[in-house]
Symmetry: D2
Subunit: 139 residues, 4 copies
């Protein structure tokens, strides 16, 4: 039984780089958001469609470890999976690799499920079912 | 009778720079927005307070001329004035200079006055009065 | 004889949106840069490879007309072509459309060809040849 | 003996906000960088001047806890101090508060001291001396 991981690819632009030709430390959070958005789309429930059903996933925590710099024109692969998914809480994990397979970044974001009025709510059961294959401790 | 110009200062960060140590071409629009916000505050009507009175100023056009690069740690002065202010339309002009007085950028943004529901409306007369000293053709 | 236009697609993220659910006015310049980068790759000369041959294309002017707001999750198509390409100068033109075909933005950027030491130089003839099919007045 | 904390203030712009009127989760890292830059300036050694003496401080880790949303036009205070400063390593801590004193964000960034060629080096003793008053466990 394999651990399921979503893959998202991204080409690094000048907009994301800073002096010294590396991606600015805060821009990785933009990339993780883009990857997360495509992940939800890939399991059939875009964040937009969830929002229209009164469900949002604000981030309450994040942590990032910068392993090696991503450079202009690098083709990054962002791996996405979940470490937890219980009650109103979901934990996403990420690894970013460049085209040579070098590890660029490891990180995680913790989200709470809320209504669009920012009140906590349990994850909808059908969504939890769709997320289940991605919940694991990746080695 | 002198032409009145608002001055806003800004210290350049790494977040705004790209490879080669210059401010990314799109980030100047962020700086112009910050300068515009402080300009409105300086004449006593923050954009937030206008919004609460059903008045917004979306940008419909902009043009920028990049004259010399702004670098990390530069202390920029952004000059703000208006070229026009009639009906539902307001034209802002900007010059950005660095700490040596070198011209970094010249630009303009055209705004329409709207309700918060995005319907065009005439500029409120009391606002027009406050803007008047800043409307001129700067030499 | 048809006018050749390059198409680039982009999914709008939260990172690009501001209050009121529309793309922030400065973020379009990030998108145009990404589109331009893929355009150069599509004709076989990435900006990275040009840079390694001592050729860069800094922007000296831009102008944007905001026609209708792009929203979160919109799938944008960015059309790219050139209006001019002579001497050391290249003018790019853009149209951004959403998934319904609505016009979101029209714009242009003017670039000069320089060495990596920022000295102007004529466009390399082989590059000019590759750009030629895209130089036209689009109707 | 009191714990010394540096304070940096920032007015929230539209550029930093996303849908729903709150600061985008990645933009806080831009603000922390700006605060850190002013902190170094305040102790008499700008990051630019350190760089010119072959000393840089790349971030190798960060963690953020989002406590309550910062909104457009909020006047934020960013508190900066250090949790550690030994060998080649420095740990910065931050708290962001809004104009009502509400806690917006808690976070930390871990930096390594390197040469401008990205080789690790020990913190220069004179810099360590200047940082010492800010190294503590804030309660």
């Amino acid at each position: 039984m394999s651990d399921t991981v979503f893959h998202y690819t991204h080409r690094v632009t000048y907009a994301e780089c800073t002096i010294g030709n590396h991606v600015y430390y805060g821009r990785y959070l933009d990339l993780l958001e883009a990857a997360r958005g495509e992940f939800f789309r890939s399991i059939g429930v875009s964040l937009q469609s969830l929002y229209e059903r009164d469900t949002a996933f604000p981030v309450i925590e994040c942590r990032l470890k910068y392993k090696s710099p991503a450079r202009y024109d690098d083709r990054l692969v962002i791996e996405v999976w979940l470490s937890e998914c219980e009650g109103a809480r979901a934990g996403f994990e990420y690894r970013v690799l460049n085209q040579s397979g070098a590890l660029v970044l490891e990180g995680g974001t913790v989200h709470v499920c809320t209504t669009t009025q920012e009140k906590p709510r349990r994850l909808p059961p059908e969504l939890k079912e769709l997320l289940r294959p991605f919940v694991h401790t990746k080695v």
